[in-house]
Symmetry: C2
């Protein structure tokens, strides 16, 4: 038992003042730092602070004008590797800039997002960062536009990180990366190996991240004068289980293909296992590529060819850009590049399907 002051009997600045024989303002000044205070006064105040184990109530400071600023980020599930990396970038940069960092997992439920954003509005968070792709419906745009406006009205800022921009004029900071470009380059690489029937695997059918990558897949084909078979695009979600299930099903269905481009590395991992289970060798029998370049990609066997996305940088930039934003200034929209990481999972394919 080492507890000093009685439990939960938080002492206030006035207790400290009384104990030190000075006024509350003096205590505030001593603790504040830079204001001129005599050494003697400072001494007795500090002693009182120590004896009482006093810490100023941050909420009271906040409301009085001082106080640590806060920033929030919202994602579907911190458990996804790319989410985790963005979150890490956000947290690091926020901390570096002296902000407290609130999180919320929506579990994919929009109502959670709405509710949380409203909460952040009342918290007067400096910025709210929506992390990760979404279904880009009119309802989404309208809803998000509203969030942007209502945050702006209390001096806060909405940030879309890895999420598509709204209509021009919305008070939003957007930090994206090039889903389409990355997929384009990746699929071009695959096609260059001679593959002609390339499966696109996983990702929610209505999800901007999946759609962007799919657009790249399509564009790469077209750029070569190829028209991909529509039955070669299989949707699901972004999990390893979806990859496993879809791949297994494709095999059972006797779908013809010589290469697989997965919507994410997670999907690719599941697909790889399904391929192995079917006795297929990668890349000898089937080539496989992923997207995201999560750390594990190197340890799949064969090591996974994939697209590297600067997730952490994305998170950092989201924070920095949002906090630097000056109202009245044009809204920022950044698009970060990606690059293909060639490893061992894509090999030559017969040109004749």
């Amino acid at each position: 038992m080492t507890r000093k002051s009685g439990d939960a009997s938080r002492s206030t600045i006035r207790d400290v003042a009384a104990r030190a024989g000075v006024s509350a303002s003096t205590v505030s000044r001593v603790l504040g730092g830079v204001y001129p205070v005599s050494a003697a006064t400072r001494g007795s105040v500090m002693r009182a602070v120590r004896e009482l184990d006093y810490v100023a109530d941050a909420r009271a400071k906040a409301i009085a004008g001082a106080g640590t600023p806060t920033l929030a980020f919202v994602l579907e599930d911190i458990t996804g590797p790319s989410f985790a990396h963005m979150a890490h970038g956000v947290e690091r940069e926020a901390t570096r800039l002296g902000h407290l960092c609130l999180v919320c997992s929506t579990e994919g439920d929009v109502r959670n997002e709405l509710e949380f954003v409203e909460m952040m509005r009342s918290q007067r968070a400096a910025a709210v960062i929506l992390v990760g792709g979404t279904a880009d419906t009119p309802a989404y745009r309208e809803r998000t536009q509203r969030m942007a406006d209502s945050l702006a009205s209390v001096g806060s800022r909405l940030v879309l990180c890895g999420r598509p921009p709204l209509d021009p004029g919305a008070p939003v900071t957007v930090i994206e990366y090039d889903n389409e470009g990355g997929a384009h380059t990746l699929v071009t690489h695959v096609l260059a190996q001679g593959h002609r029937r390339v499966l696109f695997l996983g990702g929610r059918a209505d999800h901007t991240t999946a759609l962007g990558r799919e657009r790249g897949y399509l564009a790469a084909h077209r750029a070569r004068g190829l028209t991909p078979d529509p039955s070669l695009v299989l949707h699901g979600d972004f999990t390893r289980d979806a990859g496993h299930r879809l791949m297994h099903q494709a095999l059972v269905d006797g779908l013809e293909f010589s290469a697989v481009v997965a919507a994410t590395d997670m999907v690719a991992a599941g697909a790889l296992t399904a391929l192995h289970e079917a006795g297929l060798k990668v890349p000898d029998d089937v080539s496989l590529a992923g997207y995201d370049d999560i750390p594990f990609a190197r340890d799949l066997h064969p090591a996974l060819t994939t697209v590297h996305v600067p997730y952490e940088e994305l998170g950092r930039l989201a924070v920095r850009t949002a906090l630097e934003h000056t109202p009245g200034t044009p809204d920022e929209h950044l698009l970060l590049g990606t690059h293909v990481v060639v490893r061992d999972s894509v090999g030559p394919g017969a040109v004749t399907a």
Copy 2:
């Protein structure tokens, strides 16, 4: 451009009151919910609220006694899969119980931890959850005991989640899982396959998580009347890179072993790749096991035998237990069980080394 009220001109409860032609208290009561207010009054207040797009300042509410409670969790790096799962559990349960959730990554620097805990004390967070193992030094115990006391003194609660308990009497809630037991069972399984020279790979030498697992490794040997060769324990850290590097070095050094037990699945993943690179087959030439049972473990090739840890549950319990704690009540200490997941990476070993 849809912004309604002038930018950043947050309206206050008084603005709403004025607009609705009532007093501030009435507005407060209407918004508060359960207090009796006439339908007419409620109507005009709500309209004013809507027109002004008013949200009560959460900080002001907090200081006035109402206000959403807050909870914080601290971890080294959200990017680690097991951390991410604990974080997810924490966040879910906190949200479920109506709490806001603050995060902090320490990046392994104790000063960040100290600073953040002090911050949380001033935020009057309901609880602060320290997530993940650590070096269990006297300095650590003293420091942490101090955090526990100082949090308790403001009515907050320190929680150790996946981290060793302090000396009895410290005002702390502890939720652990059985590192030693899990490793014991796992290594027993490996030894039962006939392996006699089992490498223990990775983990920081001074880290409780690694040490607990190592103790289980040792105990399993002793239980069979075996004395493991001390040169078979190789420390590093918990990353896949460490696993790769250590495994590679062990191979170069010509260390003799027929099985490898990695401190974590991440380490195992790196080790597996190093093994493959050396042309060794798992489990034919060398058996390999991990610890944590992260989702990817299934997709390594061969699928990794490992120990399942209920990380998410751990996080959830940490929150629930902490928030349910009543001062004066005995301090909780939970120890969750683990179980071995047998997959394909451990095979029979020659009994003669």
